[in-house]
Amino acid sequence: MRWDFASVFANTDALLAGAAGTLRIFAICLVLGLGLGLVVGLGRYARTKWLYLPATAFVEFFRNTPVLVQILWFYFALPILMPFEISPLTAASLGISLNSAAFSAEIYRAGTQSIDRGQWDGARALGMRWGQAMRRIVLPQAIKRMLPALTNRAIEIFKMTTLASAVAYVELLQQGKLIASLNYNPIEAYTAVAVIFLVFLWPLVQFTYVLERRLKRDE
């Protein structure tokens, strides 16, 4: 068996298109997942049960079902209830974003809860309302503590984007499949895809380690 990456390099265009697709869905899911997660996390923190209960149900459901099941549900099941088609990108983004929202909601909640009661009292004493205290005093401090967990989530989201290939969305793994089936070179094609993911994610992982170490030192 001889390794021959020439057949992979000949398809650089396809891989580039795949990388663009991966980055695109990653950006969508990162923004939606972490943004919606903040909303749900605040809901989990709320004292009214009208906010607390739905937020909790959302978190428990999406944390306790596999993402791939969610993606296939959005792709095959949801269109039956909706009057319009659902594209692979929409289905995969919905699944990954909602799943990530559930996980990041817990990060936000744990982060805000870790802030000392006295910070709230101090903000209140200065005449701030709940929303102001949260935005100006609690969140800025909490974000620092949450940062390593949030970058870990981002890495997870990046890895999850490969699941979009199950609904034939054009991303790196999907392109790898295509190249492997056209050139009969699965060894090289899938090795190349794995290496590309390593190149993207390795720096991010090392950055997270730095953040974790810095946080440990500061506290």
Partner: protein, 226 residues
């Protein structure tokens, strides 16, 4: 136009779903056993003072934590058999992938647990004449494992969710069975909803047990989950 929900075609195929769930549990269980054993070995190698052991173990752990599991699965299913010239069933590929992948995560849990045991325990074991391996087996690991239980449960639950990926290489797990039924009955909405609910019930039950254990261990101050 309101959609008419009809679960009877799904119920008629219940045996397929049950078989799928059993296969899911089979892959999860097998990968869990191998993953734990391999994870412990990787952790011990990574903690070794010898560079020649620590470095390759660290590399395996980092590579498998950093690449997407689906890419790993495809590599082990489509590429590895050609490289080494063996036949690989979907089940074997899944077990190999998820064992190594979860081992990489378990290794970090083991390492965290072992490192968290204070120096004095090692010194004490040494003082009563134990060698390194004895101290590890009799003194350190029993204490460390107790602290690691919540993190293990969390990883095991992650593993179970990850096993759904085997459906993409046509292993008849619960998700694959659901896909088959959806195509056969033209009832994707009902089928995938039922499949999602089955996953939810099983995984949520495990999560509740994990939370219970975590709370109990937290009472005795023995948890490493933060």
């Amino acid at each position: 136009m309101a959609y008419q929900w009809d679960f009877t075609p799904v119920l008629a195929n219940a045996p397929l779903l049950v078989q799928g769930l059993l296969n899911t549990l089979k892959v999860t269980g097998t990968s869990l056993v191998f993953g734990l054993a391999l994870g412990l070995a990787l952790a011990l190698l990574r903690l070794s003072p010898r560079r020649a052991f620590a470095w390759p173990a660290g590399l395996v752990i980092e590579v498998f934590r950093t690449t997407p599991p689906l890419v790993q699965l495809f590599w082990f299913f489509f590429a590895l058999p050609l490289l080494v010239g063996i036949e690989m069933t979907a089940f074997m590929a899944a077990v190999v992938t998820f064992s190594i992948q979860s081992a990489a995560f378990f290794a970090e849990v083991f390492r965290g647990g072992i490192v968290s045991i204070e120096r004095g325990q090692w010194d004490g074991a040494r003082a009563i004449g134990m060698n390194h391996a004895q101290a590890l087996r009799r003194i350190i690991l029993p204490q460390a494992v107790k602290r690691m239980i919540p993190a293990f449960m969390e990883r095991a639950i992650e593993l179970m969710k990850t096993t759904t990926l085997v459906a993409t290489i046509s292993y008849a797990d619960l998700l694959f069975a659901a896909n088959e039924i959806a195509q056969k009955t033209f009832r994707p909405l009902e089928t995938f909803t039922v499949a999602a609910l089955i996953y939810f019930v099983v995984i949520f039950a495990f999560s509740l047990i994990a939370q219970l254990l975590e709370r109990r261990l937290a009472v005795s101050g023995e948890s490493t989950v933060h």
